[in-house]
Symmetry: C2
Subunit: 242 residues, 2 copies
């Protein structure tokens, strides 16, 4: 297969959450034509997919594709239906308590593998992933070592790497940022965080999606906004402390 | 997530072809309870899926799961609908002619990532993949370096690798075998190759699936049977030279 290298394209994994939205904006700010890939992996919070579409549109992605891969067929995660979503955990428990129940087995490996497949077809060499090692220290596949290992694999796994010596890069511009930093970075890049969705366990009331305010994702997000001195524009369940 | 290590389980990628059938038999012969994973990645030859079910059943897999991942959404391969399936290529062209049109971008990376996700849930550490470096030298993701790189990645990518220090292994027992060796190995292991399907471009006539006899997969398979002094039990299109 002939692959025309094109430095201008990047494949960005866009989930609909705050982190991947800012990551997509970073890819655009770095000069890439962005190709947004949204993977429906069987997560319970399907309204993420609608958020992903809004985010890709608002940040001028060259295109957005959705791919269904039903990881819930394997079970093993609270995010895909096995077990309860943890609620009201302390900051310490979220940050340091080992691998959380919301961990989806090998999720980032699957996501990057799919991004790599598309990148090879597009002639893109740059993959963007919105992982964050600081707030999610319990996720093994959110660490720099994991990302470097994937780059090495990509080199060997593809016709592009093998025949053309192309160097694949996995960019994770948020890796070392706190949620506070991400809120401020969103502001600097003109990302409308009101379009994003982070909650693992949203409610629907009168046709409106409300974030629960109590799952790890909500708690981290709200803490980030508080520390940044900003108000989160998304709607939360009644009684949520902002 | 608590993962109970169980040395007795292996996840085996089973496509329905001859190579993955023999690989599944090797996993069983090595003493594993085999969990067969069949990925429908948008290949044109969907009768492979029926073959995969027959193979898993006949080789006593503990269970078989099918997962749909539509890689054809990305394009880029003759196997998923882009461009023509090459026909009547010489042995030399098949063996040494660079990356063939039937290469599916990053396919084995995607397959192994999915196998890893299931393995982590099952508490399995052993992945079996029926790749073969000899006959498919043009596929970058059929080389030992690629498999070792994936093992390194798996170690870093998973809660199992990180928390329990489990060592993931990617087994490719056919890596150095010729198709002739594989035919003979199938015989030794009691694999009924009549249940398998290899053709990239099968015909259907009177409700029967006929292998075309002319695509790379058919040519390699027929050559293997000829060299082994055996007759391929599957049905071929009229005029196929065996």
């Amino acid at each position: 297969m002939a692959v025309v290298p094109s430095l201008a394209r990047a494949v960005c994994l866009v989930s609909g959450g705050m982190d991947s939205a800012v990551t997509l904006a970073e890819a655009r700010a770095a000069g890439f034509a962005t190709h947004a890939l949204t993977v429906a992996y069987g997560q319970r919070h399907a309204c993420e997919l609608a958020a992903a579409r809004r985010v890709a549109r608002s940040l001028g992605a060259a295109e957005q594709r959705e791919l269904a891969v039903d990881l819930s067929a394997f079970g093993g995660s609270a995010l895909t239906g096995a077990g309860a979503i943890p609620k009201d955990r302390s900051d310490e428990a979220i940050a340091g308590g080992g691998v959380p129940a919301s961990y989806v087995p090998a999720r980032n490996t699957v996501l990057l593998a799919l991004a790599l497949a598309w990148a090879e077809v597009l002639g893109a060499r740059d993959l963007y992933l919105g992982v964050n090692a600081l707030d999610y220290s319990g996720y093994p596949d959110c660490r720099a070592e994991f990302l470097r290992a994937f780059e090495s694999l990509a080199q060997l796994a593809t016709a592009a790497g093998t025949e053309h010596g192309a160097h694949f890069r996995v960019h994770a511009p948020l890796l070392a940022l706190s949620k506070k930093d991400i809120v401020l970075r969103a502001e600097a890049l003109g990302v409308d965080l009101g379009l994003t969705h982070s909650c693992y366990d949203p409610l629907e009331a009168a046709g409106q999606v409300l974030a629960c305010g109590r799952c790890d994702a909500c708690r981290l997000r709200l803490k980030g906004f508080r520390e940044a001195g900003r108000r989160d524009p998304v709607a939360y369940a009644e009684g949520t402390e902002r």
